[in-house]
Structures are given as C-alpha cells and as structure tokens.
Amino acid sequence: MSDDITKKDKNMKMGNKRRSKRKFKNNMELLVLTLPAVIFYLIFMYTPMFGLVIAFKDYKAPKGILGSAWCGLKNFEFFFGSQDAFRISRNTVGFALLFIAINLITGIVVALLLYEVKSQRALKFYQTTMLLPRFLSWVIVGFITYTLLSPSMGILNKIIELFGGEGVDWYTQIKAWPFILVITNTWKVLGLNCIMYYAALMGVDKALYEAASIDGANRFKQILHVSLPSVKPLAIVLTLLAFGNIFRGDFGLFYIIPRDIGLLYPVTDVIDTYVYRGLRTGSLSTTAAVGLFQSIVGFVMIMSMNAIVRKVEPDSALY
C-alpha cells in the first residue's frame, strides 16, 4: 500500500520534473534575454535590502556588516528620541502634500487653458517654454534662484529697492523658504505635468463636446462634464504615485536650492537630506534605520492608497 503511494508520488514528481524541465526548455531563450536585468536587480536592488540589517546593528566599519554586533531597536530609539524625527517627518510630508495639491490643480487648470489655445504655433511656444526647466538640472536651477535671491546682486532685492523698500537677505529668512521651495518646485514640474494632462484632453472624442453643446451646455459646463471626467484616471494615477512618495523629498530641490545652509534646516531639512548628512558624518546605523523607516512608510502608503482606489475606482488602480 505505502509502496504504491510512494510509487505514484515518484511518478508524479517525475512528471512535474519533466514538465518543469520542458517549461524551462521552452522558455529558456526568453529567460536568457531577461538575464542581464535580473542580475542587475538581484545585485543592485535586492542585496541592499538585506544590507538593511545594519539598522539593527551597531555598525563598525572594520568589522563589516555581518561582523558588527546586534543592538536591537537602539538605532530607532535614538532617532525617534531626537528632535530631528518630528522636524524632518513634518517637513517631508508637509511639502509632499503641498506639492500634490498644487501640482494637481495647476496641471489640470493650465492644461484646460492650453486646450483653448487654437494657434498651433502659440501652443508649441507655450509648451516649450513651460517644459524648459524640465531639461535643467537642480544645480542650474540653483544658480537661477541665486540670481533672483542673492542679497547684494539679486533681481528680487533690486525690485524691492526700486519700490523704495529695503533689500532682504533671503538665505537667512526662514519664513520665506516654504514659499520659495513651493514656487521653485512648481516652476520645475508644471510643464511636464500640464502637457500630460493636455495629452489626455487631446484624446477626448470631439463629438462629446458637440453633443454637450447641442444639449445646451456652455463652455464651463462642458469642462465640468466632459473635460474633467476624461482627465480623472490620469489625475488619480499621478496623485496615487505621489502619495506613495509622500515620505520622500526631492533631494536636489531640498539640498541645492537652500544651498545646504544650516540656519534654514528647520524648514528645509527633509528625510533625504538628513540621511545624506548622516552618511557623510558616518553614523551609518542610525541613518540606515531612518532609511528603513522611510521605505516602510512609503510601502504602506502606496499599498493602502492603491487599496482605496481599487474600491472607489477599480479601473484606475495601479495593480
């Protein structure tokens, strides 16, 4: 009896083996094509994930990652016990939320306005100028903000002085920086954002507008009932992705534009700049703990946002 079962088992195993062997043979060529990328992902993306164990260790460079002693949650306690934890979390999330709202509104509104422009040449010109900052690195944008904000030579102070006011040293004005960063970021990303929404609007069947107009809908109502619903899927996806990155700050924006001035950290320091400074000062374990915290929150955010969208708008869910 038992012999029978083992025999059958063996046969099945053999069958499975043969099947998987055949499967492997049939797919081998395609599998080989993916191999360079797969090796890349295993080495450069997945190995660092295991490296995260140093967040739970007291990392000492000479001992290496594996040789360093375990220290439990000490690194996390150290970070959450410090004043930095609240400050950098608030700055990161606060700016991210502001950017989400502003990018959503400006992107759609400017795209709707672009849609009204009928001259092809004007359209091309407006799109190109708005896209210009997308081609510049943050370093160059940093030079541009410097020409505007420089205390002695800056354009902004010149304008203020022209109207009889007194020049301001912008690089020491903490209160001004949230506005400066929001404006700079909007300036950089608006072009691409509105062109994406514009492309979605171009995909709308013109007959829908005609039908709406026959039904007596004016331009405003057409926008409300035809244009807006047609950009909704894109708006959801873009906002969803942005929410997934809510715990991530654009390093270039927050590092280059305020010129890494310590005085401004209370409003310009985000997790990414904090982690970079941690790496530089060599407190690797604590910094890795912050990084792990960031990755986990980001992961939870995108999973839960996707779950919400899947309930409300199943077609727009990411997966």
Partner: protein
C-alpha cells in the same frame, strides 16, 4: 454677432495669461544667459539684469583658456551619458520584451522582481556600502553606469509598447525557425524606434544632468561630471582663484588677478546646460508621450 465677440474676448485673456506665464519661465533663464555675458565689474556693482548693457565675452574666454577641468568634466559627462544610456536601454529592452509576451512562463516572477523595487528599496546607506565598500565602484566610471542601469518605470514604458506589436509576426518568424534573440534584434527593435527614442532621451537627460552620483561616490576630481563641477563652484570662490592661477602663460597676469569669478560661474552654467537645451525642445513630443504611457499603464 454679440456672441462671436464674446468668444474672441475670453481667448484673448487666455493668450495674455500664457504670454505672462511664458515670460515667467523664460526670464529667470535669460538672467543667467545675460549674467554670463556681463562684465565682472558691472555684475558686482549693478547686480543681475535681464539684458546686459554691454556684451562682454571675458567669462567665456576664461572658461575656455583655463579649460582643462571643464574639458575633462565634459569628457566624463559625455562618456557616462552615452555609454550608460546605450547599455541601459539595451538591457531594459531585452528584459521588457519577454515581459510583454503572454506565453512567457516566468513573466509573473520576473515582473514582480522588477516592479517590487518601485515600492520598496534598501535606501541610501546599504546601497552606498554595497557600491563603495563591497563592489569598489567608487571613483570609477562604472559607478555612473551600473547601479542605475535599469529603471522599472522605463521597463513599463517599453513593455507597454511591445505589447502593442502584432504577436503574429513573432509566431511566423518562429515557424521560420528564428531564435528569440534574432526575433528581438531583427524584428522587434526596428519596429520600436519611437519608444526606444523616448526611453533613450529620458535616460540620456537624467544621466547628463547627474550630479548626485559624483556627490556620493566620487572624490577624485578627474571623474566629476559637469553638473557636479558646477555644483561645487556654486559656492566656491577658491576654485575659481585656483583656475586663474593655472592660467596658461599666454594670458597676462593683470587679467588673472581680476578673474571674473561671478560671471564665470554663469558662463559655466551655459556651457553645461547648453547642449541639452539645444537638443531637447525638438524632442518634447517624446517626453510627454512616454510619461503618459508610463503613468497610465503602470
């Protein structure tokens, strides 16, 4: 009649709005251009302006006469940008093609392997330790090419495009006995020029504008990218003074003592950003298209 006039009115407002917006996007850039053409003295005493009162090429002359550092950075930037883009796009396309094939048995596993990295990653510190301490990529050209080789977002763009190609072509080629590798290079790639252009441009732009890699991994100033060189001189007057003292003998010393520190910074800005600004507006169509596909089909 009245209705027609009303219609014209609101279009005019929209045009006025866009002209103002365009100026807001152009003027900051014009200030940089103008600063690079302004004499040092005028720049320091009168500050920045949109249009220089007198065009002065001193800063550019300086940049090109003391150019060793700049030329080296140019070579590093061009090499890593073009070689890196070529390798990246090839590897990503090679991976995206099997993922677009419904009959590929390991499609799900590999898709997960690739796309999971969009949701979770190890973060800066473990990545740094791996690349610098264990793989010894710091201060080599490989650091610009290897760790950023694949981008899941770009693989999605490529995969989506490949999915739109007629599968019957592949099937008939297979019946003729063509290998998958041959099908990929002889059939799929030639049909995919638009999407390859889009992804190449996105990758090239990111690599050209890269200063972050140099910031983290490069201490050898022979391997700086242009953008990082620029970042360093954003605050460094020292750097410029050093450049002035290294001046070749043909230039007389009085000029060296009056090195155009401020205007030189902006001339370098134009030198670094120029090539991309000249090329990219012609390809903006590709950008919008690629980003939309990636965002919607993600």
């Amino acid at each position: 009649m009245i209705k027609k006039r009303k219609k014209v009115d609101y279009r005019v407002f929209i045009d006025i709005y866009f002209i103002i917006t365009s100026l807001l996007f152009l003027i900051p850039f014009l200030i940089v251009v103008s600063a690079s053409f302004t004499g040092e003295k005028e720049l320091v005493t009168k500050g920045f302006s949109v249009i220089p009162s007198k065009i002065d090429f001193t800063a550019y002359k300086y940049a090109f006469s003391n150019s060793q550092e700049i030329i080296r950075a140019y070579i590093v930037t061009i090499t890593q940008a073009f070689v890196g883009t070529f390798i990246s796009v090839l590897v990503m396309a090679l991976c995206a093609y099997p993922l677009s094939r419904k009959d590929f048995a390991y499609r799900k596993v590999i898709s997960f392997l690739v796309f999971f990295t969009m949701l979770f990653n190890g973060g800066l510190v473990p990545t740094y330790l791996l690349n610098y301490k264990y793989l010894h990529l710091g201060n080599t050209m490989w650091i610009y090419i290897l760790p950023t080789m694949c981008n899941a977002f770009h693989i999605i763009i490529l995969r989506t495009f490949f999915q739109g190609l007629p599968i019957s072509l592949v099937e008939s080629a297979k019946i003729d006995g063509a290998s998958e590798l041959r099908i990929f290079f002889k059939l799929i790639l030639p049909l995919s020029k638009p999407v390859l252009a889009t992804v190449s441009l996105l990758t090239l732009l990111a690599k050209w504008n890269d200063w972050y890699t140099s910031l983290i991994y490069i201490t050898d100033d022979k391997l700086y990218t242009l953008q990082f060189l620029l970042k360093r001189i954003l605050n460094e007057a020292e750097f410029l003074r050093q450049m002035a003292t290294e001046a070749p003998p043909g230039i007389d010393l009085t000029a060296i003592q009056n090195a155009p520190a401020e205007s030189l910074k902006f001339a370098m800005c134009i030198i670094a950003a120029g090539p991309m600004l000249l090329i990219f507006p012609f390809f903006q169509k590709h950008f919008a298209k690629g980003m939309t596909v990636g965002a919607v089909k993600g």
